[in-house]
């Protein structure tokens, strides 16, 4: 379980979030500037909270005295454009986070699991958007993270690929039963969520299943965000 009770003020944004993600997929929706990316950076350890605690499966990642660096947090991260390393081929990308002589084989096994074994020797520039997502997912999962954070995972895809990948991502995430946090401003992304939390101006204004949010939306954005679940 990923638990965060954190506060951070940056410029006009005053982020104050209390969030729990168990083995489920939580989509944090919110308009641009609501603090979604800041929240991810705080969880990842790139940005330091002003106050609060972050823990993962009971292990403290941050509490003021403790502030683990990103490499020790055991969080998998998929940024918006997947951030694959352009100077390495697919297999080397996936093996980047591994140590030991068998790192290449272990990387290959994960590529296979995600149906991307045939891409092993490809250059990153030769991959489609969907292939990039699979490779990025393999690269994050190969280190066996305890939770997965995804930033606008479909934003850089065309509408058709977006529809296909939402379906497959949902299945993959269900297979691994990891705590997964997806931040998105796209109402259609709510479709992959078990639970939705809506962030506006640095605060979670409402949280629950799509049905709960639809029944009594706290704001026009919530109403719009929850509605897409029905598709």
């Amino acid at each position: 379980m990923l638990e965060a009770r954190i506060r951070r003020r940056i410029g006009v944004l005053d982020l104050d979030v209390d969030l729990r993600v168990s083995s489920e997929t939580v989509v944090v929706g919110g308009p641009n500037g609501s603090g979604k990316s800041t929240l991810l950076r705080l969880l990842l350890g790139v940005l330091r909270p002003d106050a609060g605690t972050i823990s993962l499966d009971g292990r403290i990642l941050f509490d003021g005295a403790i502030d683990l660096p990103p490499e020790d947090r055991r969080l998998g991260y998929l940024p918006q454009d997947y951030a694959l390393f352009p100077h390495l081929d697919v297999q080397a990308n996936v093996a980047f986070g591994l140590r030991g002589k068998d790192r290449r084989e272990r990387a290959s096994r994960w590529l296979e699991r995600l149906g991307a074994a045939h891409l092993s020797a490809r250059r990153i520039s030769a991959l489609s958007g969907g292939e990039r997502q699979r490779v990025a997912l393999a690269r994050a999962l190969v280190r066996e993270p305890r939770a997965l954070l995804l930033d606008e995972p479909f934003a850089s895809l065309d509408p058709e690929a977006r529809r296909d990948l939402r379906g497959s991502l949902r299945e993959w995430l269900r297979t691994w039963r990891l705590p997964v946090l997806i931040v998105s401003h796209d109402v259609d992304d709510a479709g992959v969520a078990d639970r939705i939390a809506v962030l506006e101006q640095g605060r979670i204004v409402q949280e629950g299943t799509a049905e709960q949010l639809r029944a009594s939306p706290a704001s026009p954005f919530v109403a719009g965000f929850a509605r897409s679940q029905t598709r």
């Binding site: 990842l44 490499e71 991260y77 940024p79």
Partner: protein, 262 residues
């Protein structure tokens, strides 16, 4: 301005600029007879100066590139008032006239300079030594590399660095395995400019290191010395220097192109 007139103006400007920049370099080769070139190659000043130039400029290149990459990384990854101030200071040698740089180096590291007594107590004497040549070349050439490296490091997508950290890479490994290879073409280009500046350095060297054959007389200083007695010898030395620099430029441009298309 009409389209045709504008096209003509552009072509005219390119023609004038290209001829002006090429003419002096071409004149070095076009007005030199074959036997003068041979005499230049056999000139007693050439080989000691060439050897010294290669030794000092490659040493200064290492001194610029290795710590310079780390400094540029720090400046690029720490946006703020302090790093902006540091960046301005690091660019200072690019605008300081070389003669002023020579005087400054003497007043900093000379026997009566700011650090003079401290260096003397440790038995280190810099002015008019080969080390002084290296210092002068490092001083004048560093900004070229630092500027290119800082700009390249700034262009790296921050998400790549964050992902690398979440994959277990320490900040140092992230720098070494991501930042350096991703910026390689710009780093090589910056290093080439920096090396070319070192090879051509004259003013600061002559004031801080003097003009002693085999010890502090680099190629540009040898050209100057030869000029005093024999213009043809100076011309031959200059031509050798230009050919060398041009070959370096071509090789590096090719390397950069290959790195960009790799």
């Amino acid at each position: 301005m009409k389209v045709r007139a504008w096209d003509a103006a552009q072509l005219g400007a390119v023609a004038v600029a290209a001829s002006f920049l090429v003419l002096p370099v071409a004149a070095l080769g076009l007005t030199l007879r074959w036997e003068d070139l041979l005499a230049g190659i056999r000139h007693p000043l050439l080989w000691p100066a060439l050897r010294l130039s290669l030794r000092t400029s490659s040493t200064s290149l290492v001194l610029v590139v290795v710590p310079g990459s780390i400094v540029a990384w720090w400046v690029a990854r720490h946006p703020g008032r302090l790093s902006r101030a540091v960046e301005t200071i690091l660019q200072l040698p690019a605008v300081v006239p070389p003669a002023a740089a020579g005087v400054g180096l003497l007043l900093a590291f000379g026997r009566r300079g700011l650090l003079g007594p401290w260096l003397e107590r440790r038995g280190i004497e810099l002015p008019f030594t080969t080390a002084a040549v290296v210092l002068a070349e490092t001083f004048v050439s560093a900004p070229f590399f630092l500027q290119a490296a800082t700009a390249a490091f700034r262009r790296i997508d921050e998400n790549l660095l964050i992902v690398a950290r979440t994959l277990g890479a320490s900040p140092f490994r992230t720098f070494l395995e991501l930042a350096i290879p991703l910026s390689a073409p710009s780093l090589v280009a910056g290093a080439a400019m920096s090396w070319a500046r070192s090879l051509g350095e004259f003013g600061a060297t002559v004031l801080f290191a003097g003009n002693l054959t085999g010890r502090t007389q680099t190629l540009p200083l040898a050209v100057y010395t030869a000029m005093e007695s024999d213009l043809r010898a100076a011309q031959a030395l200059a031509l050798i220097m230009v050919t060398f620099a041009f070959a370096l430029l071509l090789v590096l441009r090719r390397m950069i192109r290959e790195a960009e298309h790799a």
